[in-house]
């Protein structure tokens, strides 16, 4: 998985609790992304980062926040988890935002919100 780790790999939590997912890369790539994967929807972009402390919203950003204080780490936070946020979350990295640079995906985190 191209030097990308995600933690935790599985998490079960209750509605209303805060949750933080971590993505760590060893490739020193500039761009990092958080996606969620749901049946029938493919992968949808939540937030992305184009540098330390530089982030922007994706297609489904409501209810999520992100932070990137170091090149290698990109955190996704659900301030107050809801059942609609039950999903598989993937982190991805790339050297640039252009097509010539592939997005490499991590192994995913399966989150269940009860």
């Amino acid at each position: 998985d191209a030097g990308i780790t995600q933690s935790p790999r599985h998490k079960v939590t209750e509605t209303g609790t805060p949750v933080t997912l971590r993505c760590h890369q060893t490739e020193n790539h500039r761009y990092m992304y958080w996606y969620r994967q749901d049946p029938g929807h493919g992968l949808r972009l939540i937030h992305y980062s184009y540098g330390v402390k530089d982030t922007d919203k994706g297609e489904v950003s409501d209810g999520y926040s992100v932070s990137r204080s170091k090149t290698e780490d990109f955190l996704l936070t659900l301030e107050s988890a809801t059942s609609s946020q039950t999903s598989v979350y993937f982190c991805a990295i790339s050297e640039s935002s252009q097509g010539a640079d592939t997005q490499y995906f991590g192994p995913g985190t399966r989150l269940t919100v009860l």
């Binding site: 998985d1 992968l43 972009l45 010539a100």
Partner: protein, 112 residues
């Protein structure tokens, strides 16, 4: 709002057959079209990609056909093998917006 429409949702093919997955898009700002392959429990991995100035790209048994005027592109898997059984996603990149938009996925099963 689904900017990239993918079909079929599932596909069953006999070993040695041809698998064909189709995608269509509306946004003319898309300038790069990759296909990803995903096995259960794994993240998606880039399979093959094409730019709109090329009508076809072939890598081994995998071919992308691209029709710019129709805003459609497709993945052809020749001589399909059981090991090709996976979920396939088409995607389209808007480089100026820095965002990759995915289709909804096709679950391919190749029977031995």
């Amino acid at each position: 709002q689904q900017q990239v429409k993918q079909s079929p949702q599932s596909l069953i093919v006999q070993k040695g057959g041809i698998s064909i997955i189709n995608c269509a898009y509306e946004n003319t700002a898309f300038d790069y079209f990759p296909w990803y392959q995903q096995f259960p429990g794994k993240g998606p991995a880039l399979l093959i990609a094409i730019r709109p100035d090329v009508s076809e790209k072939k890598e081994g048994r995998f071919t992308i056909s691209f029709n710019k005027s129709a805003k459609q592109f497709s993945l052809h898997i020749m001589d399909s093998q059981p090991g090709d059984s996976a979920t396939y996603f088409c995607a389209a990149l808007d480089g100026s917006a820095r965002q990759l938009t995915f289709g909804s996925g096709t679950q391919l099963t190749v029977l031995p």
